[in-house]
């Protein structure tokens, strides 16, 4: 019998609803989505696809002494018609599942199970243990460790290229509301040896490296209207800097935000552990750099305008992306609308293989309304290529969604989308969705 992670999730969910949890505050979020698609790919028979996917989340708070909680989230899928993806009719994943104990002081917190970590330069998913606390005089400390959560094996390999263990953490110092400095690191166990070769039988298909980084981060706000944030990381495996990423926000008026950003990655050091693209084999001197800025201004409660610009530089060439947008809000935010325009001017080196240009316009407009009884949305997006891509001058898609609130927590909705693009002559999809989100009006509403 196939043992899908989702089955384990469902079992854990039922167990968690047993006696101890009955005294707790339990909330459940559920989204059931049935997609209906017909696929026609040249050289293959037509397929009717109807995957039914269940997303399920459970949070049980105030367990034991009131500071313990249990959190689960995951999904499972079963194909009601032809197989939708790969060889299996069903699939599933436990996104997270952990016990958490929160201390009433110093934001102390301990987690045990599968969880995500965002600590400075570390962005990881771990099956293990994490702990953190604030310390006197503005200091803070966090640490995590455990087993790496693996993904699908690389083609021709018996691994995903990642090591089996992972430890890391962050130490930080905060000075009043003005400054935060952090030092963080992540150390993954030795990456497995990859052996598959390309068709010539000699050239390695993938080249990987150990995922180990150390870095520092800063947040500085000497005045309320100025804020600088960013981080730099260093790869001890390549002994060079991996990334510098910084932004500055200036808020001369409450609703006016001017932002500047700078990002630079040394490709080999930053992508060193990216097995799929053989990061460890990249040219050590190659860099990716982007510099840009944007401005957003809330004219009033109903109208917000934005503008942005970014310049990209790589060995392949350079590019500029610029554009503007408008967001509208009416009826106490129940009716929302927006429109954006962007243009990417890119060197031909960024073009899709076999096409002459990488430049394109992007236009998007949407409107949505959510009332106590019904809700709807219409969203249209169009990418217009400067020069045709595979004989198509654009890739566009329109999505219409209509739904009904059966109760404040339960809603039934359906989407239809249609588009034309270089991948598909026609792309028609349907979707039916049932959502259930528990709400707690006296606890700050639903999260």
């Amino acid at each position: 019998m196939k043992n899908f992670p989702f089955c384990r999730l469902s079992l854990a969910t039922m167990l968690s609803l047993s006696c101890p949890a009955l005294a707790a505050e339990v909330s459940v979020d559920s989204t059931t989505v049935v997609r209906i698609e017909q696929r026609a790919v040249s050289g293959s028979p037509k397929q009717d696809i109807a995957p039914a996917t269940q997303f399920l989340g459970l949070d049980a708070d105030k367990l034991a002494d009131g500071n313990l909680s249990l959190h689960f989230y995951g999904w499972g899928r079963y194909d009601l018609a032809d197989k939708s993806y790969n060889g299996d009719r069903g699939d599933g994943s436990l996104t997270y599942g952990y016990l958490q104990y929160r201390f009433r002081q110093a934001n102390g917190e301990v987690r045990l199970g599968r969880f995500f970590v965002h600590e400075g330069i570390a962005n990881e998913q771990v099956d293990g243990l994490s702990a953190r606390t604030e310390l006197p005089l503005g200091f803070g400390l966090s640490a995590f460790g455990g087993a790496t959560v693996h993904t699908r094996h690389l083609y021709g390999e018996n691994s995903d290229g990642k090591g089996d263990s992972l430890v890391g953490g962050r130490a930080n110092y905060r000075y009043k509301g003005m400054l935060e400095l952090g030092v963080s690191g992540v150390y993954e166990g030795n990456a497995p040896t990859l052996t598959s070769k390309l068709d010539d039988g000699i050239t390695p298909r993938y080249t990987n490296g150990n995922h180990r980084l150390i870095g520092g981060d800063i947040w500085l706000s000497p005045f309320r209207m100025v804020e600088v944030a960013g981080h730099s990381s260093y790869n001890p495996e390549t002994k060079t800097a991996a990334e510098h990423s910084y932004l500055i926000n200036i808020k001369p008026l409450k609703k006016l935000v001017l932002t500047g950003e700078f990002n630079e990655q040394r490709d080999q050091s930053y992508f060193y552990a990216w097995s799929m693209f053989s990061g460890a084999a990249l040219n050590p001197s190659d860099k990716s750099r982007s510099v840009g800025g944007n401005v957003s201004y809330g004219v009033n409660k109903a109208l917000e305008v934005t503008g942005d610009y970014k310049h990209y530089t790589r060995e392949l060439g350079n590019a500029d992306r610029y554009g503007a947008g408008v967001r509208l809000s009416f009826l106490g935010n129940a009716l929302r609308s927006g429109a954006t325009y962007h243009y990417l001017r890119a060197s031909d080196g960024f073009a899709i293989s076999g096409t002459p240009s990488a430049s394109y316009h992007e236009l998007r407009a949407y409107v949505m309304q959510d009332t106590k009884s019904f809700f709807y949305a219409v969203d249209v997006i169009d990418y217009i290529f400067r020069k045709k891509v595979f004989n198509e001058s654009s890739a566009w898609e329109a999505v219409a969604s209509l739904g009904y609130h059966i109760t404040p927590a339960l809603a039934l909705s359906g989407d239809m989308s249609y588009g034309r693009n270089p991948e598909f002559t026609e792309d028609l999809r349907g979707l039916v969705r049932l959502t259930y989100n528990m709400t707690f009006d006296l606890k700050g509403g639903k999260k």
């Binding site: 330069i121 693209f277 700050g444």
Partner: protein, 157 residues
């Protein structure tokens, strides 16, 4: 007379400092589990509508977390040091619709009724990714480098 261990004074001082630190930590209040007040639709966007002050203890001013378009675009910087504050209003699953180990469908499919939310890869991104991936591979790597690469592996061999 026996000589005392040379590390003994250091250990005593370290223990006293640890005790003092523990006593101090009891004066550092934690953030609440949930936002204590119900927020209306749209009100969640701007903390500074109600909060003029700085957060408890050594935390930052609330206006730094107002969800302006710039904040939404650059939320990674805030999540990297203050995700404890994010969890007062957002469950982890809110983040994991996009940032996850295995994504079942594009977030914009799951939330087709929320075109106002910032979500990656709207429209025919299958075509666009062949340009964007060369232009800014770091943007791909952040989500698909170490996780969530099942669909990438299918073609990139």
């Amino acid at each position: 007379m026996k000589s005392r261990h040379p590390m003994l004074p250091v250990l005593v001082i370290a223990m006293l400092l640890a005790l003092a630190a523990c006593a101090q930590m009891k004066t550092l209040p934690s953030l609440p589990d949930w936002h204590p007040e119900t927020l209306s639709v749209g009100q969640q966007m701007d903390c500074s509508e109600c909060h003029e002050d700085q957060q408890q203890g050594t935390m930052k001013a609330f206006n730094a977390f107002s969800h302006s378009p710039a904040f939404v675009k650059n939320h990674r910087f805030y999540a990297a040091s203050d995700d404890r504050l994010c969890t007062v209003c957002h469950k982890s699953s809110f983040c994991n619709d996009c940032h996850t180990n295995r994504v079942e469908m594009k977030p914009s499919y799951k939330y087709g009724y929320r075109p106002d939310r910032e979500m990656p890869h709207r429209g025919n991104f299958m075509t666009l990714h062949k340009i964007e991936g060369k232009l800014d591979p770091a943007a791909c790597y952040r989500c698909h480098g170490r996780a969530n690469n099942e669909r990438c592996v299918a073609c990139h061999r």
